[in-house]
Every structure is written in structure tokens, then in C-alpha cells.
């Protein structure tokens, strides 16, 4: 008689949004594996039609409470592309600074509160606080530094209100931003300590031959500007994204799967950025990575937690420089007359590239909207990782397999809210 097992994780924890995993195992082999997103669809692309182009950044921010900047900025860039607006350097720098704030908040949350407990065999950060309260206090303080950047520039941390097409409604004062200086110096030190801490975790032995995709910029570790590059050698402008990536609709998921048109899969997020842009990391981040045993190539998905911590060092340092160099500009935004057209925007959300394309009419109404969030693009590689991870752990109990599979999913810091604009774990042993 065939030995069959079914394992189901119906509602994944410590992820943003709702997802599941269904695994069917027959005669000691994984036969079927679906990483599903059951977060109900919200139809953003559909209801954006007919809205005014100026409303789009604020509305699309509501796709995700964790990474609203990715939406506010991607949408604004696409509209600026249509109107022929190039923002001034002070606006560009302030945008990078508020984006650093979002990365600090999101990465600190994920590294300490959502992912680290897996490596320590704990259910959550509150259990971690019982073991080491000052560690969690420091994590929260680090997260708060990110939120303070968002609040000073944007008005609030979740769905900030000061960003608009062309720039900002109002610029922060030099004095307000300078209040962040001392805390950012502390944050750099704490991030370096974070790399050391998470670099010491036990990592399952798994290497994957991913095709990475990320933004790349000649002068900086790309966040909000650049060309798209892949480890397979592609290098193209943001406007050609849809020439290279297509979306597939599978029956087990409410999130469309984004994948390369030339077949295979691609991987976006911290690992992709690190592998493609290692040379653009600053000295402090590189030194922290090296001390934690990371070379310029990292292909173990479980080590994404270390890479995320290295990125924390980078963005805390970038943020400090931007704060110290900030001067109040004369104009908070660049304006231009409305015209019809099509535009593209793409930035590195904490979880990976987030692409936007809009077409607007001559009166400024949206005719068509297309948004490809990072988690949608990572669904395929998450499934590929899970095949390997589940297969490698079949000797273990269902509960242990579940936990390890959940951890493998959390490697991607999946943002399911984004992906549907997305998770539940089901395992079927048959």
C-alpha cells in the first residue's frame, strides 16, 4: 500500500496578509506543492480607471500598509514619466531618505519580529522578549527610527500624506530632520550588531541557482532609481519591464504569478539586490557582511535574514548622510501641464521590485493601470524552495515540516496584501 501524507498549513503566521501551503507526498516523494494566496482580491487596477492621476499615489498606497512608499513613489514616477517631469536633486534625495525610513522599519520588523523567532525555535518576538528583553527593546527602537523618518517627512508612518506627483506637498525643516542624527548613529551600530547576531544562526544547507532581478544604479545601492538587471545578463530600462515579465493566473492563488517571458523564474528582494549590487554597498555594510561570513554571492535563501541586516546597515548609513546633507529647497514639487500618455515607475520595495504602468487621458483620468508587486514575482521561487525544503525534511514529523516550510516562506518576507492586490499551508501525504 502506498504511504501517503497530506500536510496543510491553512493560515501562515508572521507574514503580511493571508496565504497557505498545500503539499501532497506519495511514497516518500513530494508530488504536489502549491503556495497559495487566499487574501481576497481587491481590484485596484480595475477601480483606478476613471480616477484622477493625482489620486493614484495615495490610493495605491492602500495596497500595502507595510510598504506604502513603494506605491506612493512608483505611481508618482509613472505619472512624472507621462508628464515629462524630472524632479530636482533635493526632491530626489528626500525621496531616497523617506524610502530608507521604510526599509529600516520593514527590515527591522521582519528580521527581529517575524523571522528571527524561527531560527531560535520560538513562536514570536514576545517569547524572545522573555529570553532577552533588551534585544527586543533594541529591535523596537531600531524600527522606530525608520518610522520617525517616515513621520517627519511624510506626516505618518503608515500611508504618509506629504508625497505627491512631482515631489512633496510640504518639505520638512532642516531642524526637524537633524533631530534624527544621533538616533541614526545609534541605528548604524545596532544594525552592525544585528548582522553579527543573525549571522551566527544555524542555516539549513541549501543553495539555489536563482535568476535574480533588481534595480541597479551607477552611483548608489539602488532603491528608487536605476535600470533593471538580471543575473542572466539582461539590462533594460524600467519601461521595458513588461517586455520581459509576464503574469500567470494559477487556480490556487488570488495573486498573479510574475515570471520571465523567456521561461524559468526570477527572484526579487534582498538576495537579488545583494548579489547584483554588492559592489555598490558601502564600506561599513561590506565589512559587516564579511565579518558574518558572507561573500559577494549568497544563494542560500535562509541567509536572506543576514542580507536584510546588511541592508539595514546600508540604509541607516545612507539615511544619516542624507539627513546631514539636507538643505531646505525653494520648491517642494515640480509641476507640468496635464497630457495624455503612458508611463512607467519601478522602485525597490523592501521585498523587491514593485512595478507600475499607467495610461492617462488628456483630462488626467486613468485609462489603464498595471501593478506588479514583489511577492507576486517571488511566488514561483518560493514554491521551488519549498519543493527542496519539504523533500529534505520528510523524515521529520508533520509539525516540524510545517514549521520549516513556514520559515522557508518567511525567507521572502512575503507581503501577501501586496500580492493580491495574496497565504494558508496544506500538506497532503498520500
Amino acid at each position: 500500500m502506498a504511504d501517503t501524507r497530506t500536510i496543510k498549513v491553512e493560515a501562515l503566521a508572521r507574514v503580511e496578509g493571508e496565504g497557505s501551503l498545500h503539499v501532497k507526498i506519495k511514497n516518500g516523494l513530494v508530488k504536489e506543492l502549491h503556495f497559495g494566496i487566499f487574501e481576497p482580491p481587491r481590484f485596484f487596477e480595475a477601480f483606478l480607471r476613471g480616477r484622477d492621476f493625482r489620486e493614484v499615489p495615495d490610493i495605491t498606497a492602500r495596497i500595502c500598509g507595510i510598504c506604502p512608499i513603494a506605491y506612493l513613489m512608483g505611481a508618482s514616477q509613472a505619472m512624472e514619466d507621462i508628464l515629462g517631469i524630472t524632479v530636482t536633486k533635493p526632491i530626489r534625495d528626500l525621496r531616497r531618505l523617506i524610502y530608507c525610513g521604510e526599509w529600516i522599519e520593514s527590515h527591522a520588523l521582519h528580521v527581529y519580529m517575524l523571522h528571527a523567532p524561527d531560527f531560535l525555535g520560538l513562536s514570536d518576538a514576545l517569547e524572545l522578549a522573555k529570553v532577552d528583553r533588551s534585544l527586543v527593546e533594541n529591535a523596537l527602537r531600531l524600527k522606530k527610527v525608520g518610522n520617525e523618518i517616515l513621520e517627519i517627512i511624510g506626516g505618518r508612518a503608515i500611508h504618509p500624506v506629504a508625497l505627491k506627483v512631482g515631489g512633496f506637498y510640504k518639505l520638512p525643516s532642516k531642524k526637524q530632520l537633524r533631530t534624527l542624527e544621533e538616533e541614526l548613529k545609534w541605528a548604524i551600530e545596532t544594525s552592525v550588531a544585528t548582522v553579527k547576531l543573525v549571522g551566527g544562526f544555524d542555516f539549513p544547507d541549501i543553495e539555489q541557482n536563482y535568476n535574480f532581478m533588481a534595480l541597479r544604479h551607477p552611483d548608489e545601492y539602488a532603491i528608487h532609481e536605476g535600470r533593471l538587471v538580471t543575473s542572466s545578463g539582461l539590462d533594460f530600462p524600467v519601461s521595458q519591464f513588461l517586455d520581459h515579465v509576464e503574469e500567470e493566473h494559477v487556480p490556487w492563488s488570488n495573486a498573479l504569478h510574475g515570471k520571465p517571458k523567456d521561461g524559468g523564474n526570477h527572484h526579487v528582494g534582498p538576495l537579488a539586490r545583494y548579489n547584483l549590487n554588492y559592489d555598490k554597498l558601502g564600506k561599513t555594510a561590506k565589512a559587516a557582511a564579511k565579518a558574518a561570513g558572507l561573500g559577494p554571492v549568497v544563494r542560500n535563501p535562509f541567509k536572506s535574514i543576514v542580507v536584510r541586516a546588511v541592508e539595514l546597515v546600508q540604509v541607516c548609513e545612507d539615511a544619516l548622510k542624507l539627513v546631514q546633507g539636507y538643505e531646505e529647497a525653494d520648491k517642494a514639487y515640480v509641476d507640468a501641464p496635464i497630457r495624455a500618455g503612458e508611463g512607467h515607475g519601478c522602485t525597490e520595495a523592501p521585498r523587491g521590485i514593485c512595478y507600475h504602468r499607467y495610461r492617462i487621458d488628456s483630462d488626467g483620468s486613468v485609462l489603464d493601470a498595471r501593478i506588479v508587486p514583489p511577492t507576486a514575482q517571488n511566488q514561483k521561487v518560493i514554491e521551488l524552495d519549498l519543493w527542496k525544503v519539504v523533500q529534505a525534511n520528510l523524515a521529520k514529523s508533520d509539525d516540524e515540516i510545517k514549521w520549516r516550510a513556514e520559515q522557508a516562506i518567511r525567507n521572502y518576507d512575503p507581503c501577501i496584501s501586496c500580492a493580491t492586490h495574496f497565504l494558508k499551508l496544506e500538506m497532503e501525504h498520500s
Binding site: A46, R49, D124, H159, K170, N254, E406
Partner: protein, 258 residues
Amino acid sequence: MSERKRPKLAVWKFSSCDGCQLTMLDCEDELLALTEEVRISYFLEATRKVEKGPYDVSLVEGSITTPHDVKAIREVRKQSKVLITIGACATAGGIQALRNFKNVKEFIRAVYAHPEYIDTLTTSTAISDHVPVDFELRGCPVNKHQMLEVLNAALNGRKPNIPKYSQCMECKETGTVCRMVATGAACLGPVTQAGCGTLCPGKDRGCYGCFGPMESPNTAALAARLGQLGQSSRDIRRLFHTYNANSDAFRKEGDNHG
């Protein structure tokens, strides 16, 4: 030594962006103290540990958009002594309630290649449209100080101190220049419940109504004034029909325009 018995807190999610429950994790200075007062029994975004109900207090984020949601919220109500909705999705259907004004089949076709895989209701509705709710906290997202106040009140069996007056009151209290008077900007402040902390006017823009209608709003008078300021009928409709489009007052006013 046995652990002190703390009230059980559950945090639930329906259709939403996760921003309101994230607000809980954003209470960086209060989170650890809070968990000494309450026992987090269900909060998937923060922990994989799940404890069975009943729960003393449930915070509910998100709107009802699927047949499964309709059943699930009834179960949450059954398991909760106090049920508090948090945010515009849970109290008014959220931005995704814009589907209520359109043909959802067309929406599904616009976004998904295989409409047959999608199981959704034609409407996005507030939690209170399905089960009795003990308190509705407004905002897109909620304000963390207000959330802590509501939680504190629920744990101590008192009424939360959450004002129902308009944003205009808050602007006056803080000495913020009136955007509508000074610049003619479209502002929903006169009909929107205060509580955000004068965010938009403080950033030189009109309020976009993310806290939803105040108690007894005079939306018709505001719409007339917006018309005088040069807003088109279509723009007035869009203003009311955004983050709280399915709240009674904003839905009705928006329907009169455009």
C-alpha cells in the same frame, strides 16, 4: 509560580492592507508593556501561536468581501466578549468598496485571466453590516494613540474617549491655517471626524477624509462650497467616494454628483 491571568486579545484580518494591525506593532514604546497587561491569543501577523477562544477583546481589521468572510466574522463575534473594528475597511468597507459602485464581473475580467478561479462577493462591506460591533475606530490607517485608548477603555470597562467632531475643530485647536479659506483647496475637513492629528492640513494639503464622516455631517453644504471653489461635479463625487466611499453619508453625497 503560575502566571497572572491576563485578558485574552485577538487580532483578526479580513480584506485590507494590514496597516491597521501593523499600527499595533508600531507601538514601539508601548508594545512590551501592553503584552504584560493582555495575553495575545491570536494575532497571525505577529505570532504562529494560536489559542482557542473565547477572547476578551477582539480587534478586527478589514472588510467583508467573500462568502467565507461572512461565515468567519460570525464565528469571531461568537468567540469575542468585546469586538472592536479598526480602520476604514472594517468600519466602512475601505477603498475596495469602490467595487460596490461598479460591475464586479468586469473588475475580475480586468485583473484576472481566469475569472472562474476567483470567489468574491459583489460588495465590500463593513463588519457592522454583518454582526453587532461594540466600537468602531476610524482611520486609514487608525491612529495608534486612539487605538491604545480604545483598548485601554475596553480592558477597563469604560467608554473610550474618542471625539466625533470634525477635523476643523482640530485645525483650530492646533492653530493650523485653513487650507480651504487660505488657498481654496478642496478639503473634506468640515465633514470628516477628527483624530488623525491634523495631518494633511499640517502638510499644506486639504483633508482627504480617511477618518470618514463625523457625527451628523453637513455634506451638502460642503459639496456646494466645493462647487463654488471650482471643483467639478466629477471631482466632488471622487472626493466623497474614496477611502470611506461606502459610509452612509459619503456614499449618498457622492451619488448626488458626477
